[in-house]
C-alpha cells in the first residue's frame, strides 16, 4: 500500500483517496460527536479491520454510532437547563415550521390588513395590531421563520469559516499560521457590530446580506478555538502514525483533525446561533435588514418608527423583544449542555 511513502509527503490524489477509503469506514463520522471523546481507538488499525471484517464494518460502525448517540443523550439528559432549552426550541421550531398551515403569507399583507392602526390587545388580536392594522401575533409567528433561518445559516457560515481557518492554521503552522492568525486577530478586535453594519450598508438589502454580514464578522472566536484544538490533536502519536502511513495534509485535516474538533464546532455552532439571531435583530432594528420581510428585529424597528415607545404601546415592543430573548436563551442553554457533554475537559457536570 502506501507504506513506502515518507510521512510529510503532500497527498497525491490517488494515495489519499486510497488511504481515506481504508480508514474512512471507521473514522468518517462527522457530526457524530463520540469521536471527540475517544479518538485514539478510531484509527487503530484501519487497513486490517477494513480488510478482515469488510461485511461487518458498516454494521459495526452503525452500532458504534448508535451507542455514542445514546451515550450522548444519556449525558445530555442530566443537564436540566439543556432539556428546557431543547423543549423550548422544539416548540418554537414546530410553530415556525407549521405557521404556513394556519396563518400563511397573508398576514404580511398591508392592503388586506384586518384591523385598524395600533389597536391594543383584544380577543381578535391577542397581541394587538401594528401601524398597518396587521395582527402582531401573526407577524410574530411569521417573523420566527426569518429570525431562525438567518440565525442558523449565519451561525453555520461563521462556524464553517472559523473551522476552515482554524484547522488550516493549526495544521500548517509556521509563517502561514502567523499571517492567518493575525488576520483573525484583526477581525477579533474589530467591533463586529460596526463591521456588520458597514457590510449591510454597502450591500443590497436582503436576508442574504445579513447572513453574510453576520457570518464574516463572527468567525474569529471559532477559528481560535479550533486552531488550539487542532494543535492539541496533531501532537498525538496517532497523527504521526497516519503520516507515516502516507496520509497527506488533506487526509490528516479531514479524516483525523476534523472529526476530533467536531464536538467543539457543534457546541460553538449552537452557541453561535443565539449570537447570530441577536445580531440579525440588531441589524434589522437599525434599519439594515430587508424591509420587505418580517423579522423580529424588523418588528422592533417598525415599532420604533411608529413611535410606539413614547406612545406607550408596549404590546408592539415587548413580544418581539421577548421572543428574541427566549430563542437566544434556548439556543444558549442547548449549546451549553452540548458543550458540557462533548468537551472532555468539562467532564464534570455542573
Amino acid at each position: 500500500m502506501t507504506i513506502d511513502k515518507t510521512p510529510p509527503n503532500p497527498s497525491e490524489s490517488g494515495d489519499s483517496s486510497e488511504a481515506s477509503e481504508a480508514s474512512g469506514s471507521l473514522t468518517e463520522m462527522p457530526g457524530t460527536p463520540t469521536d471527540g471523546t475517544a479518538p485514539p481507538q478510531t484509527t487503530g488499525a484501519p487497513a486490517a479491520t477494513a480488510k478482515a471484517a469488510a461485511p461487518s464494518a458498516s454494521s459495526l460502525m452503525w452500532a458504534r454510532r448508535r451507542a455514542s448517540v445514546s451515550r450522548f443523550w444519556r449525558q445530555y439528559r442530566t443537564h436540566r437547563a439543556g432539556l428546557i432549552g431543547l423543549a423550548g426550541l422544539a416548540v418554537i421550531a414546530l410553530i415556525a415550521l407549521t405557521s404556513p398551515l394556519f396563518i400563511g403569507g397573508d398576514v404580511q399583507s398591508v392592503t388586506d390588513a384586518p384591523g385598524t392602526a395600533l389597536e391594543s390587545p383584544s380577543g381578535e388580536f391577542p397581541l394587538g395590531t401594528d401601524q398597518f392594522g396587521r395582527s402582531l401575533l401573526g407577524l410574530l409567528i411569521w417573523g420566527a421563520r426569518i429570525s431562525l433561518v438567518v440565525g442558523l445559516l449565519a451561525a453555520a457560515l461563521s462556524v464553517a469559516i472559523g473551522t476552515l481557518v482554524g484547522i488550516v492554521a493549526g495544521h500548517f503552522g509556521g509563517w502561514f499560521a502567523t499571517v492567518v492568525m493575525r488576520i483573525t486577530d484583526w477581525f477579533l478586535v474589530m467591533p463586529a457590530l460596526v463591521l456588520a453594519i458597514v457590510l449591510a450598508t454597502v450591500m443590497s438589502r436582503s436576508i442574504w446580506t445579513v447572513i453574510l454580514a453576520i457570518g464574516v464578522t463572527s468567525w474569529p472566536t471559532t477559528a481560535r478555538l479550533v486552531r488550539a484544538q487542532t494543535i492539541a490533536i496533531e501532537s498525538r502519536p496517532y497523527i504521526e502514525r497516519a503520516r507515516a502511513l502516507g496520509g497527506g495534509h488533506g487526509h490528516v485535516m479531514t479524516r483525523h483533525v476534523l472529526p476530533n474538533v467536531m464536538p467543539l464546532v457543534l457546541a460553538q455552532t449552537t452557541l453561535g446561533i443565539s449570537t447570530a439571531i441577536l445580531t440579525e435583530a440588531t441589524l434589522a432594528f437599525l434599519g439594515l435588514g430587508d424591509p420587505s420581510v418580517v423579522s423580529w428585529g424588523g418588528m422592533l424597528q417598525d415599532a420604533r418608527e411608529a413611535g410606539a415607545v413614547s406612545s406607550g404601546h408596549w404590546w408592539y415592543l415587548a413580544p418581539p423583544g421577548i421572543a428574541i430573548a427566549v430563542v437566544a436563551l434556548a439556543f444558549t442553554l442547548c449549546g451549553r449542555a452540548i458543550e458540557a457533554v462533548l468537551n472532555p475537559k468539562l467532564g464534570v457536570s455542573r
Binding site: V110, L193, L225, S292, E305, G307, S311, G312, A318, L346
Partner: protein, 640 residues
C-alpha cells in the same frame, strides 16, 4: 439630492440622512442594552452600562435643561434632529440652518404670518421701473447690527454683489442672483438692483443679508463656516450665542430688534437624534417644542396635560416620480431607467393603481391631504387640481386595460410580460430612514402585484447617488414648497438638466418638456399676480398630463408644544398653520412664556407604561447578563 437643495426648500433626503446617523447612534445604544449583555461579543459589552446610564444622566448633564433655569431665565427649548451643514448663509441649505438664519438675519422682504403675502422686512418699500428691469428698494434706517453698527443698504448691496461675483458664495441662494446685472447702494437707505430680464421673484428674495464689515474679511467662502467666533453678528430677532455640533445652538434675543424684542430670555435648539427621546423630553418638560411626530406619538401627546398638539396642513408634497429617461443638456442619455416607463400608458396604469385615499388614511392615519396637483392646497392661490377626464383616479380595472393596450399582457403566471417576453419588474428608490416611504412601498408592491407588475423596494441611506446617475425606475420624491412657487417649478425645466452626464443639475427628476418650459419662461417675467397664478396652474396641469409625477399626499406638519412653558405662539398661516419651518421668524419671535415657570411634573400614563415595560426588559437583560457571566466564568479555563 442634498447638495442641490435651495434654502427653505428642503427635500426629504436632507433630513433623512442626518436622521439616519442618530438612528445608528441611538439604535445602537438601545440595542446594546439588550444585545450587550447577551451577545458574547467583547466590544459590545462596555457599551451596555453606558447605555443604561444614558437616559438617567442625560437630562441632568445637558446644558440649560430646565425651561426656567435657577436664575429665573425663561428658556424656550426646541428639539431638532437635523444636523447643521454650515452657519454661513452662503453655504447652508438644511432646513434647521436656514430657519435659524431667518431668526438672525433680516431678509429684504418677509411674508405675512396670516396669508404669506409679501410684507416689509429689511426693506420698507420697493418699486420696479416701467421696463421691469430696475428695482429700487428702500432700506429701513432703524435696523442695527448686534455689534452696534447700523445696518444699511450698503450691506445688502455687498451681500448680493458677493454672490454675483464669487461662485462659492452663490452655493445656497445663487438662483436668486443669477439674473442680476448690477446691484448698487447710492445711499444708506436705497438699494438699486438692475436685472438682465424681468424676474417675478423680486419680492421673494430669500437671501439673508449679512454685515459687510464682518464678512468682507472672509477669504474663502467655500470653506468659511462661521462657527468659530460667537456671538455671530446679525440684525434679526435673535443672535447666535453658542453652537456645539449636534448638541445645541443657543440664541439670545436681540433687544434692539426693530419689530420688538422676543419675550423669551433664551432660545435653544437642542439635538435629539431620536424622535422618541424628544417626545419623552417633551413629556417631562425638558423641551418646549417637538416637530415631525408620528400619528401614534401625536395621539398619545394629545391626551397629555399641558401639551398642545398642532396638526397643520403641511407645505410639502409626497410624490411618486418615474424616470423619464435621464438625459443631460448635451442630449446624452444615461442611467438605467426601465424602458417600459417611457410609455405614457404604462405610467398612467401605475398611477391608476395607486389608492391615494388609502395612503392618507392608513400610512398617514389622516395626518395628510390626498394629493392632487403639484402645489399643496395650503398655498390656495396656486393650488390646482385635475378635473374631469384629466384625473387619474384609483381604478385598477382601467390600469389593467391600459397595460393590455400598451402591449403588456398577463401570462399564465399572472405576470405582465412585454413583447420581448420579459416580465415587467420595476425598482423603486426609497429613503431607508423614512418610515412613510417603506410603508407606501408595501402598499405599492401589493397594488401593482395585483396588476401583475413586480416591484422591488430599494431602500438606501444615500439615494442621491443612484438618483443623480439616473439609475432608478421609480422614486419617492418630496419637496417643501415656498409661498413663491418659482423654485419648485424650475426644477422640472430643461434648463435644470445637468450639462453633461457627469455633472449635477438642479433638476428633480430629469423632466424636460417644451410646453412646460414655455409656460415657465412666461410666468418668470409676469408681474401681474393673477396672470402669473393662471400660468402656474397651467404648468401644473401640464406636469400632471405628462405623467412623470404622481403626487400622492400633502403630509401635515404634526408638532407639539408645552402650554405650561409657551403661553402663545403664532402659527403661519395664522389659521391652522405650522410652527416649525415657517417662512419667516414668526413662531419663535412671537412666543410668549407662560407665567408659571412650571417645573413640569405631570407624566402621562403612557410613559408609566413605558417605564414598566423598560423595567421588565431590564430585569430580563440583567438576568441574562448574570447567567452569561456565570457561564463565562465557569468555562473560563476552556477559552483561549
Amino acid at each position: 439630492m442634498v447638495t442641490r437643495i435651495p434654502p427653505r426648500t428642503t427635500r426629504q433626503p436632507t433630513r433623512q440622512r442626518s436622521r439616519f446617523r442618530h438612528f445608528l447612534a441611538s439604535g445602537a445604544v438601545a440595542t446594546a442594552m439588550v444585545a450587550g449583555s447577551v451577545i458574547p461579543l467583547g466590544p459590545l459589552l462596555p457599551a451596555a452600562p453606558q447605555a443604561q446610564a444614558a437616559p438617567l444622566t442625560a437630562p441632568r448633564t445637558a446644558p440649560q435643561a430646565a425651561p426656567a433655569a435657577a436664575d429665573g431665565k425663561k428658556v424656550l427649548t426646541v428639539a431638532v434632529d437635523q444636523s447643521i451643514d454650515s452657519l454661513s448663509p452662503f453655504l447652508a441649505q438644511t432646513l434647521v440652518a436656514t430657519s435659524i438664519f431667518r431668526l438672525t438675519n433680516e431678509f429684504l422682504t418677509n411674508y405675512d404670518p396670516k396669508d404669506a403675502h409679501t410684507i416689509p422686512g429689511f426693506a420698507t418699500k420697493w418699486a420696479s421701473s416701467a421696463d421691469k428691469l430696475t428695482w429700487t428698494f428702500t432700506i429701513r434706517s432703524d435696523s442695527k447690527w448686534s455689534d452696534g453698527k447700523p445696518a444699511t443698504a450698503e450691506d445688502a448691496a455687498w451681500t448680493f454683489n458677493k454672490m454675483m461675483t464669487d461662485p462659492n458664495a452663490a452655493t445656497a441662494n445663487g438662483n436668486f442672483t443669477s439674473n442680476f446685472k448690477k446691484v448698487t447702494a447710492p445711499d444708506a437707505t436705497k438699494l438699486v438692483i438692475e436685472l438682465k430680464k424681468p424676474q417675478a421673484t423680486m419680492t421673494a428674495l430669500d437671501v439673508p443679508i449679512v454685515p459687510k464689515h464682518v464678512w468682507e474679511k472672509v477669504d474663502d467662502f467655500s470653506k468659511f463656516n462661521n462657527d468659530k467666533k460667537f456671538p455671530i453678528v446679525g440684525n434679526g430677532p435673535y443672535v447666535i450665542e453658542d453652537f456645539k455640533v449636534d448638541q445645541y445652538i443657543r440664541l439670545k434675543p436681540n433687544k434692539d430688534f426693530w419689530r420688538g424684542a422676543p419675550k423669551f430670555d433664551e432660545l435653544v435648539f437642542r439635538y435629539y437624534k431620536d424622535k422618541d427621546a424628544a417626545v419623552a423630553a417633551l413629556q417631562k418638560g425638558e423641551v418646549s417644542f417637538v416637530s415631525g411626530l408620528t400619528p401614534a406619538q401625536a395621539a398619545a401627546l394629545g391626551n397629555a396635560d399641558n401639551i398642545k398638539v398642532n396638526n397643520a396642513p403641511g407645505r410639502r408634497f409626497f410624490a411618486l416620480a418615474t424616470n423619464p429617461g435621464a438625459k443631460a443638456k448635451d442630449g446624452k442619455s444615461f442611467g438605467n431607467g426601465h424602458k417600459a416607463l417611457l410609455d405614457q400608458n404604462v405610467r398612467k396604469a401605475l398611477f391608476h393603481a395607486v389608492d391615494r385615499k388609502t395612503i392618507v388614511e392608513k400610512v398617514f392615519q389622516g395626518n395628510a391631504v390626498e394629493g392632487q396637483g403639484y402645489i399643496p392646497p395650503r398655498f390656495d392661490s396656486y393650488f390646482w387640481e385635475p378635473s374631469g377626464s384629466q384625473t387619474i383616479d384609483y381604478d385598477p380595472a382601467k390600469a389593467a386595460t391600459l397595460l393590455d393596450k400598451a402591449g403588456y399582457k398577463k401570462n399564465s403566471g399572472g405576470k405582465r410580460v412585454g413583447k420581448d417576453g420579459k416580465p415587467l419588474n420595476f425598482r423603486i428608490l426609497c429613503h431607508a430612514t423614512d418610515p412613510n416611504d417603506k410603508a407606501v412601498g408595501k402598499y405599492l408592491q401589493e397594488w401593482w402585484g395585483e396588476l401583475g407588475i413586480g416591484l422591488k423596494v430599494e431602500c438606501l441611506d444615500n439615494v442621491s447617488d443612484p438618483w443623480l446617475a439616473g439609475n432608478y425606475d421609480l422614486a419617492f420624491d418630496g419637496w417643501s414648497v415656498n409661498p413663491d412657487p418659482d423654485f419648485v417649478l424650475s426644477i422640472h425645466t430643461c434648463a435644470a438638466l445637468p450639462a453633461t452626464a457627469e455633472d449635477t443639475g438642479a433638476t428633480d427628476n430629469f423632466i424636460c418638456d417644451k410646453k412646460f418650459d414655455d409656460l415657465y419662461a412666461k410666468q418668470a417675467v409676469e408681474y401681474d399676480t393673477a396672470k402669473r397664478t393662471d400660468l402656474v396652474k397651467q404648468m401644473q396641469s401640464r406636469l400632471y398630463d405628462t405623467g412623470y409625477m404622481n403626487v400622492m399626499a400633502y403630509p401635515n406638519a404634526v408638532e407639539a408644544y408645552r402650554t405650561d412653558q409657551i403661553k402663545s405662539i403664532t402659527t403661519m398661516p395664522e389659521a391652522a398653520g405650522n410652527l416649525w419651518g415657517q417662512d419667516g421668524y414668526w413662531s419663535w419671535w412671537s412666543a410668549v412664556p407662560a407665567d408659571g415657570t412650571g417645573e413640569a411634573s405631570s407624566d402621562s400614563g403612557s410613559s408609566t407604561g413605558t417605564i414598566i415595560g423598560i423595567g421588565a426588559a431590564a430585569v430580563v437583560v440583567v438576568a441574562l447578563g448574570i447567567f452569561f457571566a456565570i457561564r463565562r466564568r465557569s468555562t473560563a479555563e476552556d477559552r483561549e
